[in-house]
Symmetry: C2
Subunit: 190 residues, 2 copies
């Protein structure tokens, strides 16, 4: 998606070979007009799928998922990372390993909002090591729902997540795949 | 806002005199069509204000803030609760006291995205004890920006937050104010 690549080049900042900051438009300050274009693009790519729910994970996935959901006219569910007294006791749960924090954390979705009749599209801002997506997939499996695809805004193609998820037979659509990067330079996969 | 009151009565669940669960449409599963109506209502109420940024706090404020921002055509910024290597070192910070967890937590906004030229509208899903809104106000003050108002979806009128915030001269617009509640009954302030 050319608009996204342009945003990454003009407004993103590469701080090292692993850190791409897109906090000016995607995950701290959020450009909602831009996210509407992202929403249209995912709708175009998954228009063949009878999506009933969009699933994401707090916190930075929520904005993208909500803007995308407008084009599918379905609800968003975001998996919670923290214990909350506002969450039902009956939940689907999975463990997600965080490489950056070197620990596992639990994600939860209330059983009330996901069931065997659902066709689920997972949406997230980044795909790097793939652990969050695989954790969300496990929740979809527990619900007996069908995972129809995964929509990612920015995939770090130099990390193993994309391969891990696609090797499970899951359809992944990434709007930009970064092959390599260093300060001042981002190389996209054609 | 009648539509919101109807949603609370038909889809909300009162688990005790303090816990109102609206996780079916507002803060776990998100009804984006409904949030669009919320967005229009806030735009109508604050149409006299030259808003340049919408400020909220992760996680459950993000969805509301993004949907509202579409009607103001301005960016959203969400304050982060957790340390993140994706956040700039230069941040505005404030301490927020959590009554439910009985501890202080820090919230942060990058200095890059808020400045003295900004007119800020704070948006959040709930107003209860008011600590989150006051923490966000402190960040607006640190930036030298102007706080033009606070838009709240559901205010718990039986807690002190609304009074605390309004006593500081801040304009608060709550789309539904709950006077009292118990299982099976929600009484709204007229």
């Amino acid at each position: 998606m050319q608009l996204l690549k342009d945003m990454i080049v003009t407004k993103g900042r590469v701080d090292s070979e692993h850190i791409l900051k897109v906090d000016g438009f995607l995950n701290h300050q959020i450009d909602v007009q831009f996210l509407n274009e992202i929403g249209k693009e995912f709708k175009e790519r998954f228009k063949d799928q009878p999506v009933t729910k969009i699933l994401t994970i707090e916190a930075s996935g929520i904005a993208v998922a909500c803007m995308v959901a407008q084009y599918f006219e379905v609800p968003v569910i975001f998996a919670k990372k923290t214990e909350s007294k506002n969450l039902d006791a009956a939940t689907y749960e999975s463990q997600v390993y965080s490489f950056t924090k070197d620990r596992y954390y639990k994600i939860r979705v209330s059983k009330r909002y996901l069931g065997s009749e659902d066709k689920v599209l997972i949406i997230d801002d980044f795909l790097a090591n793939g652990q969050a997506v695989l954790g969300l997939k496990e929740i979809v499996d527990q619900a007996g729902a069908e995972l129809v695809g995964v929509g990612i805004v920015i995939e770090k193609g130099f990390q193993q997540g994309g391969k891990l998820v696609r090797d499970q037979g899951i359809r992944v659509e990434s709007l930009a795949i970064i092959e390599s990067m260093k300060p001042g330079e981002v190389v996209f996969r054609p």
